[in-house]
């Protein structure tokens, strides 16, 4: 059985189900669980569901220490940029402790953070900072684009024995989708083909999947068949599925909300350059944010971010391009 629910509800459902299943899961953050009427407090009590001060270093550091000693904490961070205040814990503590101990310990913690909030939040609350975390061995990154993926990836993140940054794209919060009832575990490192096609491969994550699917619909009307792939986790990254698709289509467009050099796209482009070069009929095209901070005013913001139109144009340019010397 499945039912329709909003993206945010799907995340909450997964957290609730996992907390019910495993009493070592705890959930805390700022401005949550403020009263006894809070549904999580009601269900799981104030020991496992807590409110914190605005102290990201303590919130994340305590979660790391708790994970090290037998809990499975989920920290609600609201905005991924708030992790920057405590980036030592995200980058240099949680993913390093197991390795430095020679495999003696594990750190099963989930840092849950919103990101990409393209709704006038301007320079410090709308960014995509996942690239900085993709290069950290030991750290996993989940980045769902649908309600079902949101649920299944959260459940997997909580059960994972490694630190996971779970990124909730705020522009998807109210989006509805069919979500299976009961246990839903989406494995990490397994991309999903969101739309099959044969002319071009487009890789996108989170909100960009939605925009890419809309662009693919427009392209279909012009007789262009685009295959849309959502990696669903950036670490581990399912390069294999992308390579296989490129072998079929020979063309690759990478859509990413981050600025060019801070994008996941540039990592994928590097992998394809090494693993799929001979199958490419045209250069890889990256549709990313421009190299600016995110501006406040709507026309400025729109200019900076990838759009359906930019995706459509990029696909057409890739289809028009000829391969280099054969």
């Amino acid at each position: 059985m499945a039912r329709e629910m909003m993206f945010a509800e799907a995340i909450a459902t997964a957290i609730g189900e996992e907390m019910h299943r495993d009493s070592s899961v705890v959930f805390y953050g700022q401005n949550m669980a403020m009263t006894d009427r809070d549904p999580f407090v009601k269900k799981f009590g104030k020991s496992r569901v807590r409110i914190t001060p605005i102290s990201e270093t303590a919130e994340l550091g305590i979660a790391v220490g708790a994970a090290l000693t037998g809990l499975r904490p989920i920290v609600e961070l609201y905005m991924s940029e708030f992790m920057l205040v405590a980036f030592d814990q995200v980058i240099n503590e949680a993913p390093r402790l197991r390795y430095m101990s020679g495999g003696q310990v594990k750190v099963p913690v989930v840092f849950k953070a919103g990101f990409g909030f393209a709704a006038g939040w301007a320079g410090q609350h709308s960014n995509c900072i996942y690239h900085a975390m993709m290069g950290i061995p030991g750290l996993k990154i989940a980045i769902p684009s649908t309600a079902a993926d949101a649920k299944g990836l959260m459940a997997s993140a909580i059960r994972d024995d490694n630190p996971v940054v779970y990124l909730h794209h705020y522009m998807l919060t109210l989006d509805k989708g069919e979500v299976p009832d009961g246990e839903l575990l989406i494995p990490f490192g397994v991309a999903e083909v969101k739309r099959p096609g044969k002319d071009v491969t487009i890789v996108a994550t989170a909100w960009m999947v939605k925009k890419t699917l809309a662009a693919a619909e427009l392209l279909a009307k012009e007789g262009i068949s685009a295959e849309v792939i959502d990696p669903r986790t950036l670490a581990p990254l399912d390069v294999k599925t992308i390579v296989e698709s490129v072998r079929k289509t020979g063309r690759l467009v990478l859509v990413d909300q981050a600025p060019r050099h801070a994008s996941a796209a540039i990592v994928i482009a590097g992998e394809i350059a090494e693993q799929g070069f001979k199958r490419l009929k045209a250069p890889v095209k990256m549709v990313t944010a421009l190299d600016t901070s995110i501006p406040y005013s709507e026309p400025l913001e729109r200019y900076v971010l990838p759009s359906e139109e930019k995706i459509v144009q990029s696909v057409k340019s890739v289809l028009a391009a000829q391969a280099a010397a054969v």
Partner: protein
């Protein structure tokens, strides 16, 4: 009134305490000597606990069986007391396969969860939050454990210290914060960087910011440390929350071995008091507070043991650490391909 430490502990325990202090000192001496006797065997940076023995042992003597210990990167002393294999400990510092962390961690990053030592971090103050996290586990799972968080005076200028003590107080976490004031933040003397010190106040003053008990204790006297930390641990175990104990002693070695770029050999230089500040009098005064001869004199004068008993303990520690050094030297280096292990659980 709490029972005075000497009575509460009894003869065997006092002798045990002296033995642990001597074992730590001898271990650290051997680490230090390694830089001279076997140049290149120890890589990177090693930080010694000489001078801290009374503080470490006095605090850990208050532990109950499953209590956890989470110090900073100056971390050789604690696992020695907790029962970690000193062979594995030295082999780790010597970069060897038989090391505690199989050669993946080194001096700054030790972990021995089987001996209630979940792990240390090389980033100043980050481990204070980890210790509070371990205390959160104890609280949520109602294990009755207390967590002993050790950190230097330098850590108390980091945000992690303030954020963690506030939240630990709000949540009444079962943790004892032991601030080891050895007067130096790496190479910088505390008079240059601590507002409380400059104002002539004890560093335990910082506890007032969180409305938790704060006390300053002579960290060269293991019995005073035992009393003060013992009360704080009882309080934590009773659900009354954290305390901050400032334990004052003088670090007898410099911050760490000198930072050099290979192939320039590294070893321990003179203490910063002399090397950086040219203050021989300060160092002589610090050296005069060496906790080991002090405690030895106390125990011989009150009849806990004789001079000959003490010497037996010292000889045993020397023999143990000689064996440890030989074991570590003989241990193979790790297999290179193992480097990709342990990235993910």
């Amino acid at each position: 009134m709490p029972v005075p430490a000497t009575e509460a502990l009894g003869k065997d325990r006092l002798v045990w305490m002296y033995m642990q202090m001597v074992r730590i000192r001898e271990f650290e001496e051997r680490v230090k000597r390694t830089f001279v006797e076997h140049p290149g065997v120890i890589r990177g940076h090693a930080h010694l606990a000489d001078g801290a023995e009374a503080s470490i042992v006095g605090a850990l003597a208050t532990r109950q069986e499953n209590d956890l210990v989470m110090p900073s990167y100056r971390c050789h002393g604690y696992p020695i007391v907790l029962g970690t294999s000193t062979r594995a400990l030295m082999a780790e510092i010597y970069t060897r396969k038989d090391g505690l962390c199989k050669g993946f961690g080194g001096s700054m990053h030790l972990a021995d969860p089987a001996h209630h030592f979940p792990g240390t971090t090389g980033i100043v103050a980050a481990g204070i939050a980890h210790a509070a996290g371990a205390a959160l586990t104890a609280q949520v799972k109602q294990t009755g454990q207390v967590v002993y968080s050790f950190f230097g005076d330098g850590s108390t200028k980091q945000g992690a210290f303030y954020e963690t003590l506030n939240l630990a107080a709000v949540w009444k976490l079962p943790v004892v914060f032991i601030l080891e004031n050895n007067e130096y933040q790496a190479y910088t003397h505390i008079r240059l960087e601590d507002a409380n010190y400059i104002a002539g106040d004890p560093l335990s003053q910082k506890a007032k910011a969180f409305s938790i008990p704060g006390a300053t204790v002579d960290g060269t006297d293991p019995l005073r440390v035992y009393e003060e930390v013992g009360q704080a641990a009882e309080r934590a175990r009773a659900g009354e929350g954290p305390s901050l104990i400032e334990s004052k002693f003088y670090r007898l070695s410099p911050h760490g071995n000198a930072i050099t770029v290979p192939p320039v050999p590294t070893q321990f230089q003179e203490h910063e008091a002399v090397e950086v500040y040219g203050n021989k009098a300060e160092y002589a005064e610090g050296k005069a507070k060496d906790p080991i001869p002090k405690f030895r004199a106390h125990l011989t004068s009150n009849g806990t043991f004789t001079d000959a008993d003490a010497k037996k303990i010292e000889d045993a520690a020397r023999a143990e650490m000689e064996d440890v050094v030989q074991f570590a030297l003989a241990s193979p280096l790790p297999t290179p391909e193992d480097a990709i292990k342990y990235v993910y659980a």
